[in-house]
């Protein structure tokens, strides 16, 4: 993308130099692009010193990286100087690097994931996810770290600013106090975390408060660069306002930018999805997003799609992925005689806990941990697994890795097979890599390498949220859609979906719906169950409209609009 391709509003936002700048813009209006250009503009200015970097704080690193990748050559020369972190990854970085100089001790307490915390309880001897930001603040506030922070990041960009909670906001304020300019990107209509993070301070007051202290507020308006015709953003905005009879919705239907499949029973769902995927590919579209409601329904959908041979990336369940890797490693370490089987059972319990959302610990997890008794059949299978690992270890590392990969399926526990199998494939790849690295060295070297790469991967899933990039079909739940985009988006609704106690006009759920709808560059496809929830039921009542063909448009490969 070239400088001339930016709108005057966007150019103005790029050039802004005030200490606090807020850039508003609807979905796809190019906020992230503006911020990356702003970073480049600063880094290439005469004021930039060789040691300066731009810090990009976000909720999903992948989404920003994706945009950076697509922004092409414009950013090549400064890309190394733009540091993209999630809030928690940034906090973790600060705490790991400098916590020891801020009273946290030379050896930081080991990190305990959410699932570990749930299963084993919180303790002062462990760090949890929730501890990170307060600790990072403590670290940054020590004068000796403060100097370094102020020196390094004269510009801090906050993506999805409308969703920042109190601690994240405090961190931004602290970075500003160190001397950084703040560039806040916001779209109040995309605020989707308020419902379940309200107690952490996520809410409309964030943006309202920031406007008061901002030196410059820029509104990029609604025009979408994701969909330059603005048909999809206008339609999504109307639906957010619950105006299903708005002409923008009709326009979208007429232009084939919105398709609705009514009363699709579960049995027909896969066929319907397949049909739409094939159609999208035939029209030259490259990327497809399939959004479902809950993690569980998305996971089930993923399994079925795999079964029918539709390759895709399942975004989400990141913690389960990391915990499965840890369990796989523990199994190998057991086979090699480095740890007890108790350790393997504990890792399996943590994995199961991570795979199942909710506040309670699954009964089976407690059993695996040893707190309750397990069914005799499962005990026997565990014994078999234990023997199997020991025997395969005698036949070499490769056999051991294979035995570990088959561990969970051979326990016959109905839940969590999907994340396990996904993680097992990753683990197999990591093991091969570790083997190459360890070369002909002793097996000990292999296990050291393996432990290291598993630990890195697990940390990545814990702090960075998501791992999927570039795959043509991405499957995720509605809450994970922010910041992403695809040529064609398929929204899957089922009878069993639970949308909370919210009533018409569904303020929070409508925002989530808006975010999901605005991810599409070309087309939204809404698949409704026989008895849809009131939130999406009005889709079923939309009039049948004759689709006007848009010649020339369909054959153009898209995906490079930014």
């Amino acid at each position: 993308m070239k400088w001339e391709d930016l709108t005057p509003d966007q150019q103005q936002a790029v050039m802004a130099t005030e200490p606090r700048v807020i850039v508003f813009g609807g979905a796809g209006s190019g906020k992230t692009t503006v911020a990356l250009w702003g970073a480049r503009h600063f880094l290439r200015s005469p004021n930039a010193k060789p040691w300066h970097r731009v810090l990009f704080l976000t909720f999903s690193r992948t989404a920003v990286r994706e945009i950076a990748r697509r922004s092409g050559r414009a950013l090549t020369d400064v890309r190394e100087k733009v540091e993209i972190h999630t809030f928690h990854a940034f906090a973790n970085r600060m705490v790991t690097a400098f916590g020891r100089y801020a009273g946290l001790g030379r050896d930081l307490p080991p990190f305990r994931s959410d699932a570990e915390g749930k299963l084993l309880g919180k303790s002062a001897r462990h760090l949890s996810y929730d501890d990170l930001l307060p600790l990072a603040l403590k670290v940054i506030r020590t004068p000796r770290v403060r100097d370094l922070v102020g020196q390094r990041w004269p510009l801090v960009v906050c993506d999805e600013f409308q969703d920042t909670d109190n601690e994240q906001w405090e961190l931004l304020v602290e970075l500003a106090a160190c001397g950084a300019r703040l560039l806040m990107l916001a779209d109040p209509n995309q605020m989707i975390y308020a419902a379940f993070l309200g107690d952490r301070g996520v809410g409309p007051h964030r943006v309202e408060g920031a406007i008061e202290t901002a030196d410059h507020v820029i509104d990029l308006g609604a025009p979408s660069h994701r969909d330059p015709t603005n048909v999809i953003p206008a339609m999504a905005a109307a639906i957010r306002r619950r105006e299903f009879d708005h002409e923008a919705v009709e326009a979208a239907l007429r232009g084939d930018r919105l398709r609705v499949h009514r009363a699709v029973p579960d049995d027909d769902l896969l066929a319907k999805i397949r049909q739409e995927v094939d159609d999208a590919w035939n029209r030259g579209h490259r990327s497809i997003g399939i959004f479902g409601h809950s993690n569980r329904s998305v996971a089930e959908l993923s399994a079925s799609l795999f079964a029918m041979g539709l390759d895709h990336v399942l975004v989400g369940l990141p913690e389960a992925h990391g915990e499965a890797l840890a369990a796989l490693e523990a199994a190998c370490q057991f086979g090699a005689g480095h740890v007890d089987f108790e350790q393997v059972r504990l890792r399996l319990a943590v994995f199961l806990t991570a795979s199942i959302r909710g506040s309670t610990v699954p009964e089976l997890a407690l059993g695996l941990k040893g707190a309750t008794t397990l069914p005799p059949s499962l005990v026997e299978r565990l014994n078999n697994v234990q023997r199997g690992l020991q025997q395969s270890a005698a036949d070499g590392v490769e056999n051991l890795v294979n035995a570990a990969m088959n561990l969970w399926p051979s326990l016959g526990i109905a839940a969590a097979n999907r994340p396990w199998n996904q993680a097992a494939r990753t683990f197999g790849a990591l093991a091969r890599q570790a083997q190459r690295r360890a070369r002909a060295r002793e097996t000990d070297a292999f296990f050291t390498e393996l432990a290291r790469s598993v630990s890195d991967q697990r940390t990545e899933t814990l702090f960075e949220g998501d791992g999927a990039t570039g795959k043509s079909i991405q499957l995720m739940n509605f809450h994970q859609t922010k910041g992403r985009e695809a040529d064609v988006v398929i929204l899957v609704y089922r009878d069993a979906d639970w949308f909370g106690r919210e009533q018409e006009p569904f303020p929070t759920n409508s925002r989530l719906l808006y975010v999901s709808l605005t991810r599409a560059r070309q087309r939204n496809i809404v698949i409704l169950p026989p008895t849809p929830h009131a939130l999406v039921a009005p889709f079923a009542d939309l009039p049948a409209v004759a689709v006007a063909p848009a010649p020339g448009r369909q054959q153009v490969p898209t995906g490079t609009s930014i």
Binding site: R100, A102, G103, R152
Partner: protein
């Protein structure tokens, strides 16, 4: 950038060496004590090129014990914002007062800037090498000890591109100066990768050479000669009637740019009447000068850690002094290793790092302390004037004044010439005199100089007078014994003059006095023939002190086979004193 701390473990001759530089480092020492190994060790940890190839030599492992790891750790300070930010997460803190790493800091409720004053942000790097028995080579790398755990065999390696950020320069005095060769000294300096006019000039030169070489065959006589060569080949090669110059041309070095560049040698015109001469023809000094100056011209030399091994070889002292001083000014920290002690004039006493090696091969490092008292400042002056020539010695003998030194040195020469007794230098013993730069008369200067010499790792032998005042004599002996390893004391009432005269016949003394008087055109204030015995000795001793000291000439004037008894005894004692401690009474 400066190295604040260095530790070398299990590397070559070093079992373990720790060192905290004060500023620049002047590396001197006994032969075989590890000057070059020290420079090599620092290069290993600082240069991005050091681990490019696996280490196939097991000689780097101390005593070839392959079961242990080589470790070379450095703490780098005075980093500047660019390096600090390049290594942000890896920074650590260094307590500049304690000279130690700060592992953690407690918080900070009332933490104040004054407390921070002694804390410096530093970067710690460690080079490690492990022998791999199955591969018969070593694996080596550089890691961040901050995040590495050797017990768990877990090392956070420093990526190569980051290692390239560390400003370090190695001054290589071997090889050709001003060369365009493969290691491309000059091309690197011109910055040939970037847009410079140099590439175009090179192209021009290449084409020019090609054209000129091609024109050779326009010589009719050469063409004729080539024709004769081609004659029998025309049929088999199917050349027809083509002219020789259509078939054969000449290109220097086969037309390869690298070859031509290799062949280019700098010629230098320093004086008009000599014209341009190849650099090598000007002598090794000029080559050495250019090599050092080339290192200084490097873009990264300013503020960098500059490592120089065997500096001054092939340079005359004045030029070497100038360059050493320039290096010291330009570099963030220069590590100048040399055999030329006199270059120490450019450095402060606390910048000395003297390496020693014991008879069992174990090495040690000694360094001067920054002077804090007047006594230390005075001794520091001695250091430059007195200790510099002794830096390569193993033991030093400190005498009270220049006459003591002159007399002992001359007596030693005479014994060597006449009886073949080895010189003190043969046992790496250097003679220093404490009084030379101190007007206090010497005896109080000895302990100061002795302390300093001890700190630098010398075995120190003091040779002192026995004062007539018993109390003063006792105090002086105690002081000297506290400072030197060995104190050799002349008999009571003896100073160097009487020692010189000891055991000599009256006749021998008279002849020698006469010879000295004649040779140096001085006249004794007494008639040697008129006195004898104790009186002759007393008057002669006084005369020896006149005219700025006639000690050495007198010793030299003694006939062949005649030696002062006490001087001979003293020299004998010195030779055995290098392995013992305590008081020796002559």
């Amino acid at each position: 950038m400066k190295i604040r701390y260095a530790r070398i473990t299990h590397f070559r001759g070093f079992e373990q060496l720790e060192f905290r530089p004060h500023d620049h480092v002047f590396v001197v020492g006994q032969p075989g004590a590890g000057r070059s190994d020290l420079i090599e060790a620092l290069w290993r940890v600082l240069s991005p090129d050091s681990t490019r190839f696996p280490l196939s030599e097991d000689l780097d492992f101390h005593k070839r014990d392959l079961s242990k790891r080589i470790e070379i750790e450095v703490v780098l300070g005075e980093l500047g914002p660019e390096i600090e930010q390049a290594f942000l997460d890896r920074l650590e803190y260094w307590d500049t007062e304690q000279g130690s790493l700060v592992e953690e800091i407690d918080l900070p409720d009332e933490e104040e800037s004054e407390d921070d004053g002694s804390l410096e942000r530093v970067l710690r790097l460690c080079y490690r090498a492990v022998w791999e028995h199955d591969q018969q080579q070593a694996r080596d790398w550089v890691d961040f000890p901050k995040f590495s755990d050797p017990d768990a065999d877990d090392y956070k390696r420093v990526p190569r591109d980051l290692r390239g950020e560390i400003p370090v320069a190695l001054v290589n005095t071997a090889g050709t100066a001003l060369s365009f060769g493969a290691r491309g000294d000059l091309r690197q300096l011109v910055g040939a990768d970037q847009q410079t006019d140099f590439s175009a000039t090179l192209d021009q030169m290449m084409h020019g050479i090609e054209d000129l070489a091609a024109k050779l065959v326009q010589s009719k006589d050469l063409a004729g000669a080539l024709d004769r060569i081609l004659e029998p080949l025309r049929v088999p090669l199917g050349l027809g009637k083509k002219a020789a110059n259509e078939i054969i041309r000449f290109a220097p070095e086969g037309g390869s740019l690298a070859g031509i560049l290799r062949g280019l040698q700098a010629t230098v015109k320093l004086r008009d009447e000599l014209g341009f001469l190849p650099l090598a023809r000007h002598g090794s000094t000029l080559t050495g000068l250019f090599q050092t100056a080339r290192a200084l011209a490097g873009p990264d030399s300013k503020g960098a850690v500059v490592l120089v091994d065997d500096f001054g070889e092939g340079l005359d002292l004045d030029a070497a002094l100038h360059l050493a001083s320039t290096l010291r000014q330009r570099a963030g920290q220069v590590w100048l290793s040399t055999r030329v002690g006199a270059l120490g004039q450019c450095f402060r006493p606390e910048e000395f790092l003297r390496l020693t090696v014991a008879s069992d091969g174990s090495r040690a490092a000694h360094s001067g302390q920054p002077p804090t008292t007047k006594a230390e400042r005075i001794a520091a002056r001695h250091l430059h004037l007195q200790i510099l020539p002794a830096v390569s010695a193993k033991s030093v003998v400190i005498v009270e004044g220049p006459h003591d030194r002159a007399a002992l040195a001359t007596a030693a020469m005479k014994l060597h010439a006449e009886e073949g007794i080895p010189l003190l230098a043969a046992q790496r013993i250097a003679l220093l005199d404490a009084g030379a730069a101190d007007q206090s008369g010497g005896h109080t200067a000895i302990p100061r100089l002795a302390q300093l010499a001890r700190r630098l790792g010398f075995h120190v032998i003091a040779v002192v007078d026995w004062d007539r005042d018993a109390a003063i004599a006792q105090q002086s002996l105690t002081d000297n014994l506290a400072s030197a390893h060995v104190v050799i004391r002349w008999p009571q009432g003896y100073a160097i003059e009487r020692a010189i005269l000891s055991g000599l016949d009256d006749g021998v003394i008279r002849t020698a006095l006469k010879d000295v008087a004649q040779a140096l055109a001085v006249t004794p204030d007494f008639d040697p023939a008129a006195v004898s015995g104790a009186e002759l000795m007393k008057r002669s001793a006084k005369f020896l002190k006149s005219s700025g000291g006639l000690h050495a000439p007198f010793v030299e004037a003694l006939p062949k086979g005649v030696h002062s008894a006490l001087l001979r005894k003293c020299l004998d004692e010195l030779r055995t004193a290098i392995t013992k401690t305590g008081h020796v009474q002559l």
